[in-house]
Amino acid sequence: MSRSSDFLRRLFSSWTTALGAVLLFIIVVAAIFGPIVYTVDPFEMLGRPAQLPSARFPLGTDVSGRDILAGILNGARVSLIVGLAASLGATLIGIVIGALSGYFGGLIDDTLMRITDFFLTVPNFVLLLVIVSVFTSTIEVITLAIAFVSWPSVARLVRSEFASHASREYVHACRGLGMSHMEIMGRQILPNVMAPIIVVSSLMVASAILTEAGLSFLGLSDPDIVSWGYMIGVGRTVLRSAWWMAAIPGVMIVLAVLAINLVGEGLNDALNPRMRQR
């Protein structure tokens, strides 16, 4: 059996991972094609406010008579894009800092780890709110800010991996062959330690989605974009009379985050069979 099919077999050997993958696939398809197929403008007031689901409005209307289904489909894009981009950003920062720290050790390690500890101490979400409120809340600022407060856990992990590889024989051999530090770190060590990094950064997509939802729930979302957290915030104002308005986007967040967590755990089991969680 080829290596990749063996990997896929291991990945989907548990039904929870398969369930997560199916869920994730549906959400991704809905995010990509939903707004193309269902072309209703999520910002336009189309009918009476707070209608229950009907043929015309499959998920009903919100407090301003906007189509909730249109909001859900457009919100899926925002959640996935922000989640992916923020996690990617955090992973890149974490790899650079962790690699330098673990590979060189000494003073560089001490300095970088003090900075990492600092970011682990400061309440992340509060720091995030300060950053977003000081700048304008565009989707780019929000994504960068989430990446900026999320990298330390990646850096810690990458550091310990690089530190354990830095003194191994193959690294000594590379030095002997006259490779530069950059080459050794990027081309030799990094591919060897990629597995746990992939697991952590895939799980980070889930937490970034939760963080973005929290931000937009507080009203710190991009005013030009509908997101699930924003929709919950809107629904909150009529919670006592129309609770489903806040419930629907929340269920979507739970499903998306659950799907990513399930796939992330499956990746963990497939990539690190020895560290397999029982």
Partner: protein
């Protein structure tokens, strides 16, 4: 005779000293953010008060010392923070430190209650799950914990309000006490307790899931060790092995993680406190966001970070009691 400080006090002293560099770093970060931001406090104040002429804004800037060179402003801000002067809240017209400190007790009450609840429930459920490893109960609990782990707690909070306050009418949906309630001392304690239930339970839910998963895997690891086999060979009951032999050693990673997650919990309390109208630090964050009260926001960042260090110091002391080797490292 050489005078030696007991290792326990040395350990405490080192940890308390750590507060200083963190405060300096936060102050520097705050200042950096402020100087990167478009507009300054003078712009914000005049905008909040319905606009002002260019001369008026300039006068305001001079009175706030914003026309001084950057480096002078930096050292004056730094000096202020280190002498516990966090500046004024321009919106509320009171010192930021007084404002922030007045909110700390409510947040501490919420945080300590929910984290204690989470650690306790998480540990018990984790032990239960690990002793029935692979059973239906174990699987159902794993799925529930993953679901809780994936739920945004501000949304869970709303749904709890819908169910327990609106639908069942059992518990109050917000605030820390009944407004205008006239109670005896015990009546007041009961009143606060009733108001505390929903926010504390909601906040605990997420962490119960985290600690349960960790306790379970930590227990499974410990249950494989030789001393457990030895205990079994001596004829100790499975219950005794799980709850007294294994649990004590399996506990350490859970308590350590609880310490690391204080900052995360404080951040999460912004959302929980906002939903439940709990008058703590988190709600103050939200109010300051709405009022564009940047000075207060930055002050909260300083105070909440110090709070994180102090609480995690307390948790380290607990770890020291659980495992005396930590103190001597």
């Amino acid at each position: 005779m050489a005078f030696s400080i007991p290792p326990f006090l040395q350990f405490m002293f080192r940890r308390v000293l750590q507060i200083i560099p963190v405060v300096i770093a936060i102050a520097a970060l705050n200042f950096l953010l402020l100087s990167l931001a478009p507009g300054d406090a003078a712009d914000v104040i005049s905008a909040n008060n319905g606009g002002a002429s260019a001369e008026e804004v300039q006068a305001l800037r001079e009175s706030l010392g914003l026309d001084r060179p950057m480096i002078v402003q930096f050292f004056s801000y730094m000096g202020g923070v280190l002498t516990l002067d966090l500046g004024q809240s321009y919106v509320r017209g009171m010192p930021v430190l007084d404002l922030v400190m007045s909110r700390v007790p409510a947040t501490l009450l919420l945080m300590v209650t929910s984290l204690a609840l989470a650690v306790l429930a998480g540990i018990l459920l984790g032990i239960l799950s690990s002793t029935r490893y692979g059973s239906l109960l174990d699987r159902v609990m794993s799925i529930i914990s993953l679901l809780l782990y994936s739920t945004p707690h501000f949304w869970l909070a709303l749904m709890m309000i819908v169910f327990f306050s609106v639908h069942l009418g059992l518990l109050p949906s917000g605030n820390i006490a009944t407004i205008g309630g006239d109670f005896s001392f015990l009546g007041r304690v009961w009143d606060v307790f009733v108001h505390l239930i929903l926010p504390a339970v909601t906040m605990a839910m997420f962490y119960i899931a985290v600690y349960m998963r960790l306790m379970r895997s930590s227990m499974l690891e410990v249950l494989d060790l030789d001393y457990i086999t030895a205990a079994r060979a001596r004829g100790a009951s499975e219950k005794k092995i799980a709850y007294s032999h294994a649990a004590r050693n399996a506990l350490l990673p859970v308590v350590t993680l609880a310490g690391v997650q204080i900052g995360h919990a404080l951040g999460g309390s912004v959302l929980i406190e906002t939903v439940f109208g709990w008058p703590g630090l988190g709600r103050l964050v939200y109010e300051s966001l709405l009022e564009r009260d940047t000075n207060t926001l930055m002050g909260i960042l300083v105070v909440s970070s110090v709070l994180v260090i102090v609480v995690s110091l307390c948790i380290d002391l607990v770890c020291g009691l659980l495992d005396p080797r930590i103190v001597h490292k």
